[in-house]
Symmetry: C2
Subunit: 418 residues, 2 copies
């Protein structure tokens, strides 16, 4: 693959990453941000709070990468050894940084908590680094240089690390390295599997010049396709745009959006454009569709609310589902899910609604309606469309997949394609 000349390694430190108790969200975010400014992440390594393992990992990565970003191990407890290790690695001595100390003191005053000796120690840094102040916590970051290479140490707490990256590291790197420009063009498809997509655009993929790469990024029944090119020539932008436009034609019938945004953001935009509102009636997804929609800032402009109708009495009392429908067709049925969708429209006075009812497992299945049976309905004032899907996954994945399916059905209704 045609990489940028500048490559980075991300080292995350902490036993909690190696016993699986903590999910490493830091390095994914860091990789994303580095990628945007033309830095290829060659490797991501997680090591425990083990002196020799951290030391040898640092040795290895410094050999091959120009930029080493390290997170974790800067906390106040005894198992945090990153700072003394880096101090020794770069032959420094620990000194108190006055700005970092003031920051620690201010934070403890704000929260009206007593300042402990361990907290005061957080303001100590090796005298051979540039100090990165922490606006969101007590532990300062550190930047070391060796042989033209940059080694940065940051806290493992995601929003502390993100603050330092955004305010200091990401603006600093282009000044230190001659970075190539990276251009991405991403589109989102729904309703087609990765291998069918690959078969369909096989010839397109073969027609791509060496310096434009295609990546398949599947996730929960949707596949993102991304074109990438690295280089400083102006002509590359026109070229990637041309190929991106051809790619869109190849997938026009399954294309959701030609940007790198989520399905819930697409829904939000459509509703805003049309000046319409949405309400939900969720049974088996238990609030997950509401959660997805309201994770988007500004969603209160179009999202009126939802009813999580786990119990049948809630379906009756808050959504007006007829008791006879529940008794005769059952809670997981076309009839019930359509009444739920209409009930949401009425009770929350919205223009559009989504309703879902199904069996997510592991229990609750029957021979007639096994685990994974789901009914979805979308509705507006003129029509209500229902669809049945059958999912083979575990509870969590069934919930996620149902949510995506339901949002996509609404998208098609909003586009008048149902």
């Amino acid at each position: 693959m045609n990489k940028s000349k500048i490559s980075a390694s991300i080292i995350t430190i902490g036993d909690e990453l190696l016993i699986g108790q903590t999910l490493d969200t830091n390095s994914a975010w860091m990789a994303q941000e580095l990628n945007k400014i033309g830095i290829w992440v060659r490797r991501r390594i997680a090591v425990g709070d083990v002196w020799d393992d951290i030391w040898s990992t640092l040795d290895e990565e410094i050999k091959t990468s120009q930029i080493i970003l390290i997170t974790g191990g800067l906390g106040p407890t005894a198992d945090d050894i990153t700072k003394p290790l880096l101090c020794k690695y770069f032959s420094g001595n620990l000194i108190t940084d006055e700005a970092a100390l003031k920051n620690v003191v201010d934070i403890f005053e704000f929260f009206k908590r007593p300042l402990l000796e361990v907290n005061r120690k957080q303001a100590e840094v090796p005298n051979v680094c540039r100090v990165i102040q922490n606006k969101n916590g007590t532990a300062p970051g550190m930047l070391f240089e060796r042989d033209g290479k940059i080694i940065v140490s940051m806290p493992g707490v995601p929003f502390e690390m993100k603050g330092m990256m955004t305010d200091f590291v990401l603006p600093e790197l282009p000044a230190l390295f001659d970075l190539s420009k990276v251009e991405h063009r991403t589109l989102l498809t729904a309703g087609i599997g990765e291998s069918f997509l690959a078969e369909r655009i096989k010839d397109f993929e073969l027609s791509l010049p060496q310096h434009i790469k295609l990546a398949y990024l599947p996730n929960l029944g949707m596949v993102r396709l991304r074109l990438t090119t690295i280089g400083n020539e102006e002509s590359l932008i026109n070229q990637i745009d041309e190929y991106f436009s051809i790619l869109q034609q190849h997938v026009h019938d399954v294309l959701v959006v030609n940007e790198d945004i989520s399905l819930e953001e697409v829904i939000g935009r459509l509703l805003i454009e049309q000046g319409k509102t949405l309400s939900l009636a969720e049974s088996c997804t238990g609030g997950n569709i509401s959660h997805l929609l309201t994770s988007v800032p500004g969603s209160s402009a179009y999202f009126k609310g939802g009813v999580v109708s786990y119990d049948n009495s809630v379906k009756q009392n808050l959504l007006g589902v007829n008791i006879n429908t529940l008794n005769n067709a059952g809670a997981v049925s076309e009839e019930t899910v359509c009444e739920m969708a209409k009930g949401a429209l009425n009770s929350m006075n919205s223009d559009y609604s989504i309703a879902v009812s199904g069996i997510m497992g592991p229990g609750g299945g029957t021979e007639e309606k096994p685990v994974g049976t789901v009914w979805i309905a979308v509705s507006n004032n003129t029509k209500t469309i229902a669809k049945k899907i059958q999912l083979p996954y575990n509870r969590r994945r069934n919930i996620e997949n149902t949510s995506i399916n339901a949002l996509n059905l609404l998208r098609l209704l909003l586009l008048n394609r149902l």
Copy 2:
């Protein structure tokens, strides 16, 4: 740290992991499972779909770990190079595995899809490995041996990998290696920060024998504490239990549960024990509390449902909040959140309820009620308790933190501690 003698490396392969488009949940899960059977994960490495990087990573890890688990790069598209690479690395030839081919054919027949040549190729494996059949997908896994070390390659799709680990790899490893037993004891605290916890149990930590380790695992305002011991002596179990009991006394006032389960599972247990039901009125958390509660299998036994009352009209119509309250005190106020809690009890006929209303950001803040202002109320038939919190995070984290705070307040009410 006193590790088990057998150590493992986890290598995850795929450009998508290095550009940050995919969160690596696989290796956390694998590390957890390996840990349970006494295998210490020394390093986790993510590399791109780059031949030389994969090859050199494999070289390095084989030097120091006895077990190498690899995921990813087995898909049907051209960027998937794990299989040819491993075939060359172990000097084999690709042959078609009949059982794997039958599996591929069966899957395509079940979904009534045409079998493509790329799919048929998935049944090819190096003739120098043991084949691990894939019950959940098309790509088979592979197990190689070299100099008493084990190298396993599995698909990157989480539930395919998990199926192979559970059915084959995890049962196989104890037969191949002499594993020490690992014992963990984990407890969950709420309402105390990591450094205060560390200060409080400093003497306890110093009193621990060399072979019992204490780990702090903070997450969203809650901290897990875990004791670990590795070894085959029967006496270790009594010893870890004794120290665990002392640890519980040290944190008795902030202890949520002395098991490694989530707060929403604790709530579920309390409700089942007391034979009580729960309903929710969520505004700013937008369905996330419902989502957390309903992620627990069997939650329909105690969770009646919820109203996501994003719009004020929904607060009025479905929860019976008085319009004067909304006009005078505002949507984010003690008065409103208490009416929401009582409204949830009434409209969904439950024994307990939680209500939240706040400003999650980035927009919507005022001087009087800045972003991060949240009111939480919990209620039963005899009392309603409200609490105000002020959060400093971004939207997503404010939502997560509010949800945990609200669930913890309900826990205290269920325990009659409010």
